[in-house]
Amino acid sequence: MADTIHLSRRNFIVATGATGLTIGILSACSQPTGDTEADAPDYSDLPPNPEVNAWVHIDHDDTVTVRIARSEMGQGTLTGLAQLVADELDCDWDKVTTEYPTPGENLARERVWRDFSTGGSQGIRGSQDYVREGAAAAKAMLIEAAANEWGVPASECTSENSIITHGPSGQTTTYGKVANAAAQLAPPLEVTVKDPSEWKIIGQPKPRLDTAEKLTGKQVYGADIQLDGMLSASIKQAPKIGATLASFDAAAVEGMPGVQKVVSVRNPFGEGNNAVAVIADTWWQAHKALQALPVEWQGGVDFSTAEFEAELDDGLTAEEAFVGNGGGDVAGAFANAAQVVEATYNMPFQNHACMEPMNTTALYTEDRCEIWCPTQNGEAALAAVSEASGLPIEQCEVYKIHLGGGFGRRGAPDYVQQAVMLAMEMPGTPIKLLWSREEDMIHGFFHPTTKGRVRGALDADGNLTGLHLRISGQSILAALIPQALQDGVDYATFQGLLPSGVDPRLEDQTLKYSFDNFLVDHAMRNPPVRPGFWRGVNLNQNAIYLECFMDELAYAAGRDPLEFRLAHLQDSPEAAAVLQAVADRSGWGSDDGKARGLCVMYGFGAYVAACAEVTVSDAGELKIDRIVAATDPGHAVNPQQIEAQVEGSFVYGLSAMLYGEITFEGGEVQEQNFDTFNSMRIAAMPEVETIIMPSGGFWGGVGEPTIAVAAPAVLNAIYSATGKRVRNLPIKDQNLRDA
């Protein structure tokens, strides 16, 4: 059919790379939003303009192509980063388009685009300085080129909306006309970026640049890649942790329709083969044959989440634990307490469950290996291609494709290495590896399981005089990045609970409450399950431990939970402000009979708060009626996209609270699809009102922090409705009236 996406590799490059001729960049990410003028001049006989600099290319017709190093996975960074560039460049927003530079190009150009890794809510805040400076440099070069042409000082020229004006003479020209000359100039030695008061595009609720193609089915995801002569593969990995492939009977399926090859696949992270794949003409044929393939596995670990609870419980009271934060005299506070409150909370494993299952398309030849890949970390993917193929990294390339969800899962390169290994079985033939949903569920990098035991000392007046928060459970860094441990301590475990002024890398994850006598510590208990960075990461469970317990303390002290929290936020006016904002908007303290719960946290450099309103029926059924959320990310680049991220955070965070749980029996994941690992549907989705209150002066994250306040606010509201505390998640099978 006419609309079929069927492009050869070269066509893919030519068809999508606006500046492919210049530097081989490809993967256009969005089209200009402005109308095409019917009588637009024809520039087709002019040679294409070179880039002005690494960040900006401008066509003769003034189309500005912004290079975006970070991956777009739904979080809107693509549009936000383009806003940063467009604002600093003074260009016409309606003529802005975007493209991904390739990781290979970044390597060849000495990492001119720096970090491609997209996680930790860092997309904008982690690159805004050099991205804006890059755009400011491009603008200076464009102005200088115009000034040179006119023989006037650049200081007499101004820029606005892609037009340069020489004030004294009134002459004007456009960016497109001087882009070639600008590209020949030396970049300025110094640039000054705009003061926030001068921003015209930053801070505006611009529509996303990538929406149009997402409404028509034209957006190509990794799973949709189609190359000439391509074959498709379905893979089955050892269902049991640590098991390896013993044998399989390829002959049993080789005669099935479309089947080309049945191959064993090496474990990307360990010894031996741990998977088998069928390569066929179509994915469905490959998958059907794989289901019919007789396979034997051997070895593995008999891990059970139910049994592991005993280890977590042991950690809750163990003598030895790593200290994350603390001060004062905790023992003394408890010895002198009028009342001691204690609670233990339990958090299960979670799967990321991106809507688009893991996939990569790879093409291997003797001297080159290329992949088409939805990845959160293009450079790590490039390294994985080199490692798996055995080719020097300069002979490898990664073409990034928009992600059908990431949430932290697509930073890992396991599926990349597998695709390369499959492609090496058939040199010269592109192979698309697409995991089934079951593979995606079973072979996740799971949000770790932890328990939290919190004890609080109250004096006779209901003041909090001592607090001990013990985390027991898995360290992500110990499993994935052991070199990041400091004397064995995983400080990331303490996200949201850390002291200020100790580690600048974790300054965006600090505790904003002030406590006199307190201790936060971690008894590391690592199961043989591979953990991962799951949207919000450790902030999620720490918010439950801290903020559900602050609620418990407030009620035990007979104090208002808002007032109780504010009493400990005297040193953080920003945190107090977001909390007060949700309280005010929600009607906290009114006598309207609604059951409400609060939560406030600081994480990923942003202050966030939520107030939830719930109804619990006599039969124990929960309805989340309304959420009021506030966020102070410092600077708000695109308020309507921040709103979208905040709304979405409640879907992700509350899906986990309501249903999300990965359990193991006999070393095997029990929840293998959405029938047993459910996700929130629209019927359960509350109305969300978002208050964006940027206080300026800092750059905070957006995509993750609000996840953490979702569950605690609702759990605290459930208590307000029922008088019962839910401390074990998920809620799914619990009767809230019997909790």
């Binding site: 997402k214 190509v220 799973a223 809507m355 949903r437 309507q640 979405g648 879907v651 699809n673 549907r681």
Partner: protein, 150 residues
């Protein structure tokens, strides 16, 4: 072998009878707007219309078609994204990663074919698609805006 009427065109494909319609649409017909999400009719990313009604194509064997059915995919919903649901989705900037949105749009437009003025209860009962990015709040607003535009 199967003959399908899809987006107004008749297509004949060489395929096993038990192949899910989703994979016929994606791999034989070559229309990749319809997505694979779960394969067990849970998530709704594969939603298409058969004779105007929403169907989860991942569990619909192509052999169950008679050849007379009018199949519509996201690519055939409108020529130029002008369907009221697409217009509403653009106006509210609903998609995030967008992977589930073709299925979401087809589920909503299919519902509106039968229920042009859905109540919130109708929406709760009939729109059960999963969106992990979490566009659900805007989806409800989008449905109401699409009704206004219809």
């Amino acid at each position: 072998m199967a003959t399908l009427k899809i987006n107004g065109e008749t297509v004949t494909v060489e395929v096993e009878d038990d192949t899910p319609l989703l994979w016929v649409i994606r791999e034989q017909v070559g229309l990749t707007g319809t997505k694979y999400g779960c394969g067990i009719a849970q998530c709704g990313t594969c939603t298409i219309h058969i004779n105007g009604s929403p169907v989860r194509s991942c569990v619909y064997p192509v052999g169950a078609l008679t050849g007379d059915e009018e199949i519509t995919t996201i690519e055939g919903l409108s020529e130029d994204a002008s369907h009221p649901v697409q217009q509403a989705w653009a106006e509210l900037d609903i998609p995030q990663c967008g992977y589930c949105q073709p299925g979401m749009i087809m589920a909503v437009s299919g519902m509106l074919n039968d229920t042009p003025n859905p109540t919130d209860e109708d929406i709760d009962a009939q729109i059960t698609n999963i969106c992990r990015c979490g566009t659900l709040a805007r989806v409800r607003k989008g449905i109401k805006l699409a009704v206004e535009k219809s």
